[in-house]
Each structure stands twice: as C-alpha cells, then as structure tokens.
Amino acid sequence: MLSLVPSAPTSDDTLCQALLTGDRAAFGELVRRHQDAVFRLVRRYVATPDDAADVMQRAFLQAFEGAAAASRREVPFRAWLFRIAINVAKNHSRDARRWPRAPIDALDTRASADSPLASLEAAELRALTRQAVETLPPRQREVFALRVDAGLPFAEVAVALDISEANAKSHFHHAVKRLRDEVQRATAPRGAQ
C-alpha cells in the first residue's frame, strides 16, 4: 500500500549502523549526502583534484571505521565526518607543504561585465584574500573553512570542533577581522602602509 505521507529521511546514525552490517545502499546514501560538502571543505587545503579525492577517501574511511565509537560518544556522524575531514586535510596540507596558488592561477577567466581593470583588481583581491585565509591561525581557519566552504551552521561547526557555538562565532569574527585587516594593509597606498 502506497503511503501518501513522505517518510522522514533515514538518520545518518541509522545508516551507519546499517553500513557496518554491510548494507551497500546505506553506504551509498551516506556518501551521496556528504561528499559535496566534504569536497568543498578539503578543496582549500589541497592543490589538485586528485589530492582532494585522496583526502576525501581517507576521511570517509576513517569516519566509517570510527562510526560505532562516535555513536557511543553521541557525536552525530556528520560532525564526526567533518572533524576527521578537516584533520586529514590539515595533515595533507602540512605534509605537502602546499603554497598558495599564484595570482595568475586564480584569475577568473569567466566573462565579466566589468572593465578589464576591474576584473584584474577583483582577481587580485581574490588571490590576496585566499592567501590570507591560509595564514589564519589554525582554529580560525578551521572555523572559517567549515562555515564558508562546507556551509555548516555554527551549531554544527561547534560540534565538529568540540567547542561551544559562542566560541565558534568568536573565532569566525576574529578570522573575518584578520582578513579585512590583511587586505586593507595589502591594498593601501604605499604611503599609508
């Protein structure tokens, strides 16, 4: 008998339990739900798409293997996954000694209605800002990446990093202020620096 009431989506924890018993459908659903956000998160820490796939794979595998322990500690799977993903990404970045992309690589090649000068200035601003993100203190960078890149609300950022929501917002505020100051310093006229 068909139900006219759409059933609530299966929770991540339920899917994890099924995954650990070999349920391949649960495996596929968990990956489908979270792979885009994890990819957006790790993109900032890696240099190539292959590196992103490698980091994502390690993060998911570790998250699946530790899912039972996370459940016992009442940590939601999503937060658990992102906690692992950011640690794996940080380690990768440190090990690879990744350098910021050269400004030329970050130039936006899309057609713009702005003048060429405005487009160049926008591209340089993007390169400058992204470089400044990579020099943020570790915790500020983590909060920034989870909030801006992965799109997690502050409540989930807090759970993923095992900090309070207020602390997460504070880190975000300081990160934005630091970026603002860095860009202002870099773009100020030479006499004003």
Partner: protein, 161 residues
Amino acid sequence: MKRDDLKRDDVTCDDVELALVDGPLSPEADRHLQSCLTCQASAAVLQAAELDPPTPVERAVVATFAGRLSTAWRARAAQRRVARGAAGYGAAAAIGALAASMFFLFHPAEAPVPDVAPVAPVALAQADVSLDEWVSDETVTAEDSEFFDVSWPAVSEGDSQ
C-alpha cells in the same frame, strides 16, 4: 543566527557578519550593510575568499568518488577479515599450548629411574616355617595339621547357664 533576529532595526555589525554567509540578508541587515563601511569590507572579503566553482575535472572527481570509495572500503573489509583470521589461529594455538601445559601439570610422566649402584641384599632372619613347606599340600602331614588346626569353640561355649 536566525533570520527573524535581523528584522530589528538595531542590527549590529556582528549580526551582519554572521549572516553574510547565509545568503540574502534581511531588509534590516541590508540597510545596515549599505551604511556601514566595516560591514561592506567584511562582505567583500568573504566574497573574495570563496573558492571558484568546481572545474570540470573536479566535478568528475566528485561524480566518481562513491565508486572509488566503495572499492577502498571493500578492500579494507577484506584486510580486516584476514587479520581476524590470523588472530583466531594465533589464539587457538595459544589455547592449545595452555591446555597441553595444564595436562602435563596434573599428569606428570613417570620419574626416571635413578641410576644408582645395586644394593647388596641383607640376610634376613631365619623364618620359623619354611615358605615352601607352608604352601605345599603334599608335605602337609598329620603333625603339620595340628599346627594348622584351628580349634573352634563348642557351640555352647560362652553361654551363661
């Protein structure tokens, strides 16, 4: 930050900063942004910090990721099965060794006969009756029977009458 909280006119820079990443601002927050240079700088920085949209190569990586991950997960599961099997054999061997040690603990083998020099037999005291004479029926004579005869008491002996 809930969207309803930004409908107040007393929206602060912190409120706007936290809401900038969520997308379109409320009218109140937008009014504040239009009049605040600090918030405009924050908005510019957050927009500039966003990474470019995924390239076709990156989109392909994401599209094929689930299959790659599934292969890696199956490989790890196979490795775990092998490791469990090896651990099982090791445990069985350890239990067998323990059982064997317990068996020999409670069922020790016969102590080896010490290698000592034979002791010279000591002369025994002469027996009153020769053993050969004792067991041989042929040599029992009437005189001997007296020695062996056991006098049973009479039936009435001992009765107090």
